[in-house]
């Protein structure tokens, strides 16, 4: 019998990391009195040979992904970050070390700071408007409606299109006297017409609209899946107890949907921080006087396209640090209860 079978004889589930409580199936031991000695079959045993074999096994599982990832993602990124300490035009040898100067310059540049504000705006608007909208549609699709499957197909459609295509098409639609303006005129709402892509004051809202158009279907699908996990008996019970639909939604559905919502919010925020292709193509590299820059478009426009590779890398590092701090904080405090996906095990 393979050595792992010995484990089934009651050997302690050894955790190789002393900080962690013993794990069962990779999940922390449930407080419901699971025998800590009942072992997870692959969690290891006390025998040295078996430990080494286990380590090799883990390594074997992890290495294809790790090798690929380290060589083609982390190493280039680390090198890219390394450039941030230099003043470098991409052609000459890497000689002009400037330390933190690039970072100081970036944080002093009003256009960069504006780009941070723009991204923040998208994040807030997405959380406040896009996600509830997606949730509403998910609830809609959860009803028994004719053509529900078709609707589901259509709502997800924009997500499948490339950002570039979406940007090209919307740019045409939003032209002065373009399709949007024409439609508004046709229904008598001509007074609402704005310079959607030329007016620095509203261009970011236009961007938000198109971002919503592109991505709401993705979040809707997530919520739909979550809704479908909820047993109808719970809602029926609430109804019997006299709860209105709104109350039932608020006190029964929403809490059960919470893990899904938290994950969706996380992905939405990370996605907003990385927003690039759509904005680049639709606003022609950041809009008039940079009124639509995101951190990534700014990085490309003010950094790489000007032969300022050190500066561009510094901007990327700043954006990364912001994303990272957010991700850690979010994982720790918000997703804490959702073990799947925890970056830290504190309190898990």
């Amino acid at each position: 019998m393979p050595p792992a079978a010995d484990v089934g004889r009651g050997a302690a589930a050894v955790s190789l990391d002393e900080r962690e409580p013993p794990l069962r199936n990779g999940l922390p031991a449930s407080p419901k009195g699971v025998d800590a000695h009942a072992s997870a079959p692959f969690a290891g045993s006390g025998r040295v040979g078996a430990v080494w074999r286990r380590r090799l096994t883990i390594l074997a599982f992890l290495s294809p992904a790790l090798v690929l990832y380290l060589a083609l993602v982390l190493a280039p990124i680390a090198q890219g970050a390394f450039y941030s300490g230099f003043d470098w035009n991409g052609l000459e040898p890497l000689e002009k070390f400037v330390g933190l100067q690039n970072y100081r310059d970036a944080l002093a540049d009003p256009v960069f700071l504006a780009s941070l504000r723009h991204v923040f705006l998208i994040v807030v608007l997405s959380l406040a408007l896009q996600l509830p909208f997606a949730l509403g549609l998910a609830v809609l699709l959860n009803q028994r409606l004719h053509g529900r499957a078709v609707l589901r197909l259509l709502f997800f459609l924009p997500f499948v299109l490339s950002d570039v295509i979406a940007a090209i098409v919307w740019r045409l639609l939003l032209m002065p006297a373009g399709l949007l303006d024409g439609s508004l005129e046709a229904v008598g709402l001509g007074g609402l017409i704005q310079q959607w892509l030329s007016d620095p004051d509203i261009i970011m809202y236009t961007v938000f609209f198109v971002v919503t158009w592109k991505y709401f279907g993705f979040h809707m699908i997530l919520y739909l899946a979550g809704l479908q996990q909820i047993p109808p008996e719970l809602e029926e019970a609430a109804a019997i107890d006299g709860a209105s639909r709104a109350q039932s939604f608020r006190y029964v559905t929403l809490p059960l949907l919470a893990p899904t919502i938290r994950m969706s919010a996380f992905l939405s925020i990370i996605g907003s921080l990385q927003l690039f292709d759509l904005v680049w193509v639709m606003t022609n590299k950041g809009g008039p006087v940079g009124s639509a820059h995101t951190t990534v478009t700014y990085m490309l426009d003010h950094g790489f396209e000007r032969g300022q590779f050190g500066y561009g890398s510094a901007v990327a590092v700043i954006a990364f640090v912001i994303s990272f701090v957010f991700a850690i904080g979010y994982q720790r405090f918000v997703l804490r209860r959702d073990v799947a996906g925890a970056l830290t095990t504190a309190g898990a």
Partner: protein, 434 residues
């Protein structure tokens, strides 16, 4: 390529050793860099950006013809669209492995490449035939007097206008001074016609106005000096900004101009091409793009006219000072001598005439090729080019890419009413370290 050169060198030596009095008039003298005599197979890697017809086929034909004449040479063409080219070549340059011949606009970009040792000094090799080419164009591909590339096209920026619309507004002659231009703008507005088409979304169309005003206000010296010492806050530039502000305050542009691009549906070219605006300031490629953006492909047809940038009263510049630029090829540091021979062929009178006959946006620079261009408006451009007392390269190419971008942006702010002429000049001067 290095591999091939080493192999070629070895082969030449062996051939020499073995040859028993054969007909050997090939140049096997120590051409160490490339190490290949005229018998050894040579590949030339060539990157250009004429990615559509007629240019695409033209270059293909030229390459085939050269290959036919030089059987040991094979030319490997890679074609990119303009923007894609800039992105695609960056890693090659960064890795120190430039193509043998590649698109170049001269100016600041070339300077950077020279500093990074990416291009070859071809001054001696081209000396026998370089005088056949327009000297102003040739100079664009020199750095400190050393030749690193060869031009095949030089154009300039001027006004393209719709004769019919001018007539409609009662304007008989195109303006010859800046004040006349402002008056005409007002006249056109009063007649209900959009005076000027501008695609400020791309930034560089707006920069043309400012650059010309600077050139007219101060002549060539301030622009040259500023390139050296960053003195963009001198009078010429401040005045350029102030005069431009006068124009912008008249609100002469089409709807949505701030985000409009040069080309594509709804852009500047489309505005002109569909008769939506009376005039625009643009380079010699304008007619082609206008036509492409018009419903029947003919633009505004016979109604199209051209006039040079007007004088500015009290300015030091001449009306014959010209703002423009062109296309050429830089020679990569590892390029074989055959690549330079190819350039000679590509800019020969015969090829230049064929380019001219296409009446496309390419205006060849080979002496004697002017007659091959039959389009009357392009002829107007050619005359101005021939009379040019000075050619100033597009600012975002003349200076290094970063400064060019700062200029474009600062000027954009002026258009947006967010900066005054003086502030614009100051911003640029600060960025240039002046």
């Amino acid at each position: 390529m290095h591999f091939r050169k080493g192999w070629a060198a070895a082969m030449s030596l062996m051939l020499l050793a073995v040859a028993c009095g054969g007909d050997d008039d090939s140049d096997t003298s120590a051409d160490t860099e490339s190490g290949s005599g005229s018998d050894e197979p040579v590949t030339i890697e060539w990157w250009h950006i004429q990615n559509n017809d007629p240019g695409l086929s033209m270059w293909e034909d030229v390459a085939h013809e050269f290959e036919a004449d030089h059987p040991n040479v094979s030319i490997d063409i890679t074609v990119y669209e303009n923007e894609a080219f800039k992105t695609a070549i960056a890693p090659r340059l960064q890795a120190g492995d430039p193509p043998d011949l590649f698109q170049s606009w001269g100016g600041g970009g070339l300077v950077e490449q020279v500093d990074a040792d990416l291009v070859q000094d071809i001054s001696d090799d081209v000396a026998p035939w370089i005088d056949n080419l327009n000297p102003a164009a040739v100079e664009l591909y020199q750095v400190d007097g050393v030749q690193y590339g060869i031009p095949f096209d030089l154009g300039m920026v001027g006004f393209w206008y719709n004769r019919d619309l001018f007539e409609q507004a009662g304007i008989d002659e195109p303006p010859t001074t800046w004040d006349e231009l402002l008056d005409d703008v007002q006249t056109l507005k009063d007649a209900g016609i959009t005076p000027i088409a501008l695609g400020e979304g791309d930034q560089w169309p707006g920069m043309f106005w400012w650059a010309y005003l600077a050139l007219r206000s101060g002549g060539p010296e301030p622009l040259q000096d500023a390139g050296e010492d960053g003195s963009f806050d001198s009078d010429a530039f401040v005045q350029a900004g102030e005069r431009l502000q006068e124009l912008v305050e008249l609100e002469p542009f089409q709807d949505g101009w701030q985000a409009a691009v040069w080309d594509g549906a709804g852009g500047q070219a489309a505005s002109m091409g569909t008769g939506g605006a009376a005039m625009m300031l643009m380079g010699q490629w304008a007619p082609g793009t206008m036509n492409a953006n018009s419903p029947d492909g003919n633009g505004i047809g016979e109604a199209l006219g051209w006039f040079p940038f007007p004088e500015v009263e009290g300015g030091d510049g001449e009306a014959t000072d010209v703002f423009g630029g062109g296309n050429g090829f830089a020679v990569g540091k590892d390029a074989p001598p055959e690549a330079i021979e190819f350039l000679e062929y590509a800019t020969s009178l015969d090829v230049a005439n064929r380019w001219g006959e296409l009446n496309s946006g390419i205006l060849p620079v080979t002496a004697g090729s002017d007659e091959s261009i039959t389009d009357p408006t392009l002829q107007g451009v050619l005359e101005a080019r021939a009379d040019a007392s000075y050619v100033q390269l597009y600012l975002d190419q003349a200076y290094d890419p970063e400064l060019g971008a700062v200029i474009n942006e600062a000027v954009e702010q002026l258009y947006a009413g967010q900066a005054s002429g003086e502030e614009v000049a100051q911003t640029i001067a600060d960025a240039a370290g002046g």
